[in-house]
Every structure is written in structure tokens, then in C-alpha cells.
Subunit: 109 residues, 2 copies
DNA sequence: CGGTCATTTAACCCTCCCGTTAATTAACGG
DNA sequence: CCGTTAATTAACGGGAGGGTTAAATGACCG
């Protein structure tokens, strides 16, 4: 699980972390501010932040004793870029057309 | 980790599973066909398929002793829909503009 | 300097994930 | 039937993930 995309998806696979990202979309925040809505300990939040930072989804800056986190959406762009390859499968119409074309192609030879 | 989105992202967080999806984009395939490119045992593949099925990313049909898998991209649409909320952060220009507007707003009052 | 606040690290659980091999189920074909 | 092929289930092990509490770090402040 050492590849970049896996790390990104794994980071997103936790509701707490996604909620943290949602919060950061409204602006930077410190660890305690981020922890406030959740019913889990501060060390747990601290680790979630480390996971997000590791995935490149946030960056962190320290000023005095506060460390504020900042949303970095670049990895999300990478993730959607990967999914983009499958976009044609989302469209029912395309799927039906595609199946139809495949059937034709198999009947030909 | 019971929510739908988490299950989807978790399923995508494995390179083998993403490779299986890529293979299925070219058409249905049986378990042994899907296992062929990988250096892992058949039971392992079988479980990966169960994870993908659980996430709704594939559907399966049985004909005789073969069980073929079929790509279902619906969940990918859901996942990108979630990420879509952050699209504005991908664009550097927007980010700079956004920061600028925020600065203005803070200077006002 | 001593206290206090913000955050991280350490140490420890427990559960889930990914892999293995061995055994089991299911269906076909002589 | 029996053997073969396809796939899953069972049982196990190692390691990662998410949580906890207690202790350590770092920076402000009186």
C-alpha cells in the first residue's frame, strides 16, 4: 500500500477525516478547534491529521503553540483524475450503447 | 466505518482492487481470469472481489461453474460527487482569489 | 522560574485487513 | 459415479489502523 493513490484513498476512507476536510474547507483551524465536534480524544485527532498530512491533503503551520491545518486539495484532483477513466460507465445511456456496440462486434466475425 | 462512502474509498485504497477494476473496464471476466496478472493466491482475489462487490463496484453473475464480474461504476460517481465539493480548491487561481477576498473581508470590519 | 495551554509521543488494546494453505462446495463431462 | 475445474470457506499469522490514558514537549505568561 505504498503507492500515492492508495494513501489518498485510505485517508479518505474514514468519516472523521472527511469531516475534518469539510471543516477545513471553511478555513484553517487548530487541532483543538478541529477536535471540538468529535467525541474522541485529542491524540486520536492528532493522528488523523498526520494521516491527512501524509496523504498531502492538508499542510500545517505552527505559530506559537498552535498548529493550524490548511486544506490542500491537490490529491483530490489526482483521485478524481483516476476515476475519470470510468466516467463513461456512469452514464446508463453510454453503457447501453457500449453493450450494443460490443454485441455487434461479436456478431460480425 | 459503516457509511457507504467509507466503504467505497476503502475498496479503492488497494492497488490490486484498482487493477481489477481497470481490467473489468475492458469487459466481464471470471475469477481466474482476473487473478492471472497477479502473484497472489486465488482465495485472496476472491476476497478482493467480495470487497468490491460489497462496495457496489462490481456485480457478479454465475453461469455453470464460472462466476464472472462486471464493473459497476455508480459508486465512483458518488465518490467524485463528494470530491466535487472541493474542486474550487484545486484551481490555484481560485485559491489566490479566495485568499484575496478573505483578506479584504477581514480588513473591512 | 513556575504554571498553564496546545499538541504530540509512548505504550497499550482490540479489531480489521491481507496474505497464506488446506479443505469444501458446486457444476460440468466422460 | 468419478474426476476435474472453478471458486469459496475455514483457520491461521502478521501487521496496520483507530481508539484509549499517561507522559513528554514546546511556547506563552505572570
Amino acid at each position: 500500500m505504498t503507492d500515492r493513490l492508495s494513501v489518498i484513498f485510505a485517508a479518505l476512507a474514514d468519516p472523521t477525516r472527511r469531516a475534518i476536510l469539510a471543516r477545513l474547507a471553511e478555513g484553517e483551524a487548530t487541532v483543538t478547534e478541529l477536535a471540538e465536534p468529535f467525541d474522541i480524544s485529542l491524540p486520536a485527532i492528532s493522528r488523523h491529521l498526520k494521516v491527512l498530512e501524509n496523504a498531502g491533503l492538508i499542510s500545517r503551520s505552527r505559530s506559537a503553540q498552535w498548529r493550524s491545518s490548511r486544506l490542500e486539495a491537490g490529491p483530490l484532483r489526482e483521485a478524481t483524475a483516476w476515476m475519470e477513466r470510468y466516467r463513461r460507465f456512469w452514464d446508463e445511456n453510454f453503457a447501453r450503447l457500449d453493450a450494443h456496440l460490443k454485441r455487434l462486434q461479436e456478431e460480425k466475425p
